[in-house]
Amino acid sequence: MAIRENKTLLIIFYVFIGLFALVCLVPFVLAVSGSLSTETEIAANGYSFLPQGFTFDTYKFMFGSKSEEIVRGYLNSVMITAMGTASAVIVTSAYAYVITAKGFRHRNVFAFFAYFTMLFSGGTLPWYILATKYYHLDNTLAGLFVPYLLNVFLMYLQANYFKSIPHEVVESAQIDGAGHYLIFFRIMLPLGQVGLVTISLFYALQFWNDFFLPLMLVTDEKLFTIQYMMYYMMANIQFLASGAASRISGAIIAPPLETAKLAMTCLTVLPIAILYPFLQRYFVRGIIVGSVKG
């Protein structure tokens, strides 16, 4: 009796997850198929699951004139994602450890100090002035990840994972005379591994997906990331389609092709979607090993 009950429930779970994954996959399939269609067919018939008038023209066009830029964009994105995630995970989990340290009487102050910034911000102008005039982050690689080293939401997530580590483990270490550094690096990081995997995933996504920092701080095309190139194109499409362009001139500036938009989507999603599950584990292990040594 009990076994049968288990089976139906399990089947339901498989179906549920499978269906949801399928629904998540559909638009992506549409995007891939759209990027392999001809522009005319897409404009006439809309999206479809199979490419209409199958062609690599869009990619050829993009790689043909921009292959160098796209490759460079990828390299920049990879570099920033790797450096940003590695450093952000350390900064964040250290802060998270502090606000969860049992017996530390200012931990709430630190928690509030971080939380407050989630709600209030002074807008982009003072941020921009400080970042460019005082921190000199414009047109530097550091500028593309340093401002995002502490994401308060993820810090709270990590703190939540730390909280689930049994307190006895920490206490027995303390009795053995271990200080906070030792506890953090040798106990909390390895035991909080699942949490680290999760927040490193989110950080990686944040750095990979970001276009705000390049928009604000980078004018040198050598530092463009793939996501910013994508944003650049989308912003141009939106502007031209909004009719605002006619304010400047009566010209019809033909908006970039629909298919190019989809191709660009595929180019930003594909590598991380395919590679991340494989890299994830090594990546986190690397962080833990690195921090234990350091």
């Binding site: 522009e39 005319t40 404009a43 006439a44 004139s65 709430n108 102050v109 509030f112 100090f113 407050f116 982009t124 102008l125 003072p126 921009y128 002035i129 400080l130 460019t132 005039k133 005082y134 928009l215 604000m216 004018t219 095309e221 944003y231 650049y232 912003a235 141009n236 499409i237 939106q238 502007f239 031209l240 389609a241 009719g243 605002a244 362009a245 006619s246 304010r247 400047i248 001139s249 009566g250 010209a251 019809i252 500036i253 033909a254 908006p255 629909e258």
Partner: protein, 515 residues
Amino acid sequence: MARRITWFSLLALVLFLSACSSNSNDGGSAGSGSPSGSSSSEASPTPGDPTQADFSEPVKLKLVFYTGQSKRMAELAGNELKDLVKKEINAELEFVYLPWSEYGGGKTDLMLSSGEEFAAYTDINYLSKSVSKGLYADLTPYVDAYAPDLKSNVAAASFDAFKLNGKQYAIPVGNRASSAAFYSVMVRQDLLEEVGMTSIGSLADLEQYYDKVHAKYPDMIGFASADATYMLMYEYTDKNLNWINNFIAVNEADQDDKLISWYESPEFKKYADLMNGWYKKGIIPKYAVTNQPQLMSDWNAGKAMFFTGTATRPIEGIAGITKAVPTAKLQNYFLSKNDRPKISRGTYNTAYFVSANAKHPERYVAFFNLLQKNQELYDFFTYGIKDKDYTLDENGRVTKLTSDLFFDDWMMMNDKFMRFEKSVPDDFIEQYKHWDDDAILSKTAGFNFDNTAVKNEESKLNGVFTELVAPIASGFVDYDTHFPKTLQKLKEAGLDKYIAEYQKQFSAWYASKAE
């Protein structure tokens, strides 16, 4: 505990705020030296005379462009263009490219507000907002001395358009036939002929054209836009209307300073009814309510019958369509225009401002001068290097050898220098040359509105416009049932006060112009 936290954090906040205030004050004062003072004292050896600037010292100029940089442009900027600018004005150019979303706001605003040195293009709207915040340099003293060629090749009225209180805040570029922008219907001539018609002269013709094509190709949409205010004007009124913004129109046929509250006018009702008819009939597709960008896609895919036109649109737009329909031809027509003169808002394409903090505004102005100095430089900036990027035939027609853009065509176009491509038919060129023959300059040209007193009302009116007025104006909902409530909302938002303020400023300006 909780109290302690609040207290502590407040203290911390105050500390940081004050620490920060001293910091940013430095920034403010460093960047806030009075723009005219710094420019004249540092740039020229004789502080009193800005027209005698010393060009022996090399300087760096930063130009902000929107859209991206093409490969050929980058090469040019690193070689021939660099040498040219060095030789002519002893300067080095740095090009910065931003997405279009940052035009007239966004990062451009941040760069201006934080006191960076650069130049970029602008429009009248953005100009008056920025000047009121002190973000643009006053270029008045430099125009005569450093842009004599530009001044003779660009209409004087274009310079007036970018003046505020008599000061020149931006330098216009371009000079082309641009009257009656959006007042004409641009028709797919190939389709027109396919259904046995030759030309269009009235709304009845246009609808007949739609019916005939629709019968043959039921999948095609009629009008590839949701705004025909200008185009249909000749049909719904005998006046010669022109619009200052969404809310205010003037009648160019009358020699007076009277402003018309557009939405309250009987003409608006007639227009809205026409549009509603088009919408119901399917000339404007149902999806236009939601997805306006799709209209453009349909047009470019050759799936639409007509669009609003400008003098140059038939040649600018043709490349997009011929990709889908190789046989496509475009032609401008006016509906029942009769002898009403075309209205021109100025012949410029755009204008360049220089940021308030720039140390060498005169060098920027000297650079703008190069853009429209003579045929040789015009060709260089627009088409690149002869026989490498383009060729000319015996008639002066141009053939581009690269698809990469240099300085955008739409920005540079000047009737004195412009060249047509080989594919442009002779009759179009003929039509274009005489396009402005019956044009008058709008009586509103050069007027700038200061919205300080009514910015509250203006924002609210924009809210009512996007939600309630736009659907009526595009014919998505019918006038009779929806207008009374909309009018009430417009009044609540302060329409009367807004119009009154506009009228006050316009009358004052109009009177001063007459003197």
